[in-house]
Symmetry: C2
Subunit: 217 residues, 2 copies
């Protein structure tokens, strides 16, 4: 049975993205620092191509093991339209998913096939339809809710998330992100998620928190 | 040399306290759940007296070790006036600090000695004075900035914090705390704290994150 999960980086103060997000600045101002631990890993550099300013090859080790585990378990992805559009410009011919990606949108569009195994499918029927199709496409693997924040919140509100991982970068982003940045756990209305810690570890650049969802009420 | 630290419980969405805080409801609505892991420990029950509804004696183990380590390293405490007043009602004759406590206030008042080694000193000269006096009183041990959120923020803005621990309870409090709850890492203005992870562990009820402050700018 497919599990449905998300796996995201946050600042200490809970920001997932900074202000002024747009194509070419997909994380928003200041938020690259949240993901430094991930950008440095060998697996990230392999799946995303060379990242400017990083040393060739990337780093192996515990952080890399975490990134690789996510790549290996994700048989399909669900993305919001904005995250797709913000990433689209930078991905080039080979998008980094290497699996089917279901994009929530209002504009019908045929599948968009990229090199390396990524095919984007554009879903106009809402989150539930995207999730159903992603589960069917995942070939027994798990479904990653890739983001952005709105899409992860939709998944949480729908009670769809089985487990999740937060990678907390040891910095505050509020001075930059306070105006227009996005906190993951905002605007969740009446949601009273109850989870259970299933793991915790740290490297020099991030603390990794793993949870299983117990009650999605 | 004294270290200055804080050690607090937060929800997944960053709340330290719920709405409607007042004497008799010091944590605010819904926020008791954040601290369940701590209330269950033997050391907490010893230092705070019996907690209604908890089993006699409390639990030993990894969570208890963390609580005991904090009690042992704290030679003095700094508290905000509101946290003092909210706690005052419930503490009874034996306050749970068992060390000198420096309370930030505008109202001069003589020292208030409680059973068990807690003496409250009321400081009208601001955070810097309270910290200087706490360091002098700590007898070579460390100084804990006990809270509330405003006092910890003052300490962060003053560049006074050497290390800190966050105990993250695996639940969302926004549905209760969104109106009037307190997030620890809010209202920090231009502060760009940069820390380094120094530890991470978890129990069934909380994930414990330890950090050393690298840059207080």
């Amino acid at each position: 049975m497919n599990k449905v999960f998300f796996d995201v980086g946050l600042s200490l103060d809970g920001y997932l993205a900074g202000p002024n997000r747009r194509p070419g600045n997909p994380l928003g101002d200041g938020a690259i620092a949240i993901h430094e631990w991930m950008f440095a890993t060998a697996t990230f550099q392999q799946t995303h191509g060379a990242i400017p300013g990083t040393r060739g090859g990337g780093q192996r080790g515990a952080d890399d093991d975490l990134v690789r585990a996510v790549v290996e378990r994700a048989g399909a992805h669900v993305l919001g339209k904005r995250m797709f559009e913000e990433g689209e410009v930078g991905w080039g011919e080979e998008a980094p998913f290497h699996a089917p990606v279901f994009v929530l949108t209002h504009a019908p569009r045929g599948p968009w096939v990229r090199k390396g195994g990524t095919t984007f499918h554009f879903v106009t029927g809402g989150f539930a339809e995207a999730l159903t199709r992603a589960k069917a496409a995942a070939k027994g693997k798990d479904v990653r809710i890739g983001g952005g924040a709105d899409t992860i919140r939709q998944a949480l509100r729908a009670g769809a998330i089985d487990d999740f991982t937060l990678h907390v970068a040891p910095l505050l982003l509020g001075s930059v992100a306070g105006q227009g940045g996005l906190r993951l756990f905002d605007d969740l209305g009446d949601l009273r998620l109850l989870a259970e810690p299933t793991g915790a570890s740290h490297s020099a650049k991030a603390t990794h928190l793993h949870f299983r969802v117990r009650s999605k009420g």
